[in-house]
């Protein structure tokens, strides 16, 4: 590896869990960025907010329960978590339904997050 400067990575996770592996890909990459001591932002948008629902249990479909991992995101060094308010509301959800309490954001705040990012992974 070449020099590892500290940069800002933003991960936008927009898809529902279990139907595809995109939430897991996004999470794995963010965890790798955190391990390499990068600045990490993690944004849940659109169907991605479903990843944060309580009471997930993927045993019956023989898969890891992603909600359980997301509960401990901060332990992995990912503290800047965001959830899109409009995505929650349009799905009849509120912060109380989620396993963690990300910052509630709207478009303009997210623009600021993206503008300050060197790399954006959008899954």
């Amino acid at each position: 590896m070449n020099k590892l400067q500290k940069q800002t990575f933003t991960f936008i996770s927009r898809t529902a869990p279990y139907g595809s592996n995109r939430p897991q890909l996004c999470l794995d990459t963010a965890l790798a960025a955190a391990v390499f001591e990068q600045q990490v932002n993690y944004v849940f948008m659109e169907d991605g907010v479903y990843q944060l629902l309580k009471n997930q249990d993927a045993k019956a479909i023989h898969t890891k329960t992603i909600g359980k991992t997301l509960e401990t995101l901060d332990l992995y060094g990912i503290e800047n978590t965001y959830v899109c308010n409009e995505s929650l509301e349009s799905r009849g959800l509120s912060l109380g339904d989620l396993v963690i309490k990300p910052k509630l954001t709207k478009g303009d705040e997210l623009k600021t997050v993206l503008n300050s990012s060197d790399t954006v992974i959008n899954l």
Partner: protein
């Protein structure tokens, strides 16, 4: 300018892998540089050397291999994506007691750290999925 290209999609079932290939080829033709190709998730299927394609169609796996060799590119396949999709090099074949090697010699099995490194050390990172 240094680009990193991340490919999430398998060849043939969607256009994304072909778009990534066309983009990569064009940027090299234009004198730019590829810092790293990174094949992730179903993108790993692009590095399978076993495939054969009818003569009137493009063999995308072989095209990647040729491009990588022509330009001596750094081409990495995510290790956890690769092994579960049957993409193994000699070392992984040995470790998992498999009698076959399916990965083109032009690509290497790598961890996600190589993707983070590539994002840091490239001017632009493009995702194709």
């Amino acid at each position: 300018m240094k680009f990193t290209i991340v490919v999430y999609a398998a060849p043939y079932s969607s256009q994304a892998a072909a778009t990534a290939f066309n983009f990569s080829k064009t940027l090299l033709d234009e004198g730019h540089e590829i810092y790293r190709l990174f094949f992730f998730s179903d993108g790993a299927h692009n590095t399978n050397k076993i495939a054969r394609v009818p003569q009137d169609e493009i063999n995308l796996q072989a095209s990647w291999d040729e491009l990588i060799r022509d330009y001596d590119l750094d081409s990495a396949v995510c290790v956890s994506s690769a092994i579960k999709r049957g993409i193994v090099d000699e070392q992984e074949a040995e470790r998992h007691e498999l009698s076959t090697v399916s990965l083109f010699k032009s690509s290497e099995i790598a961890g996600l750290g190589q993707l983070i490194d590539a994002a840091i050390n490239s001017d632009r990172l493009l995702n194709f999925g």
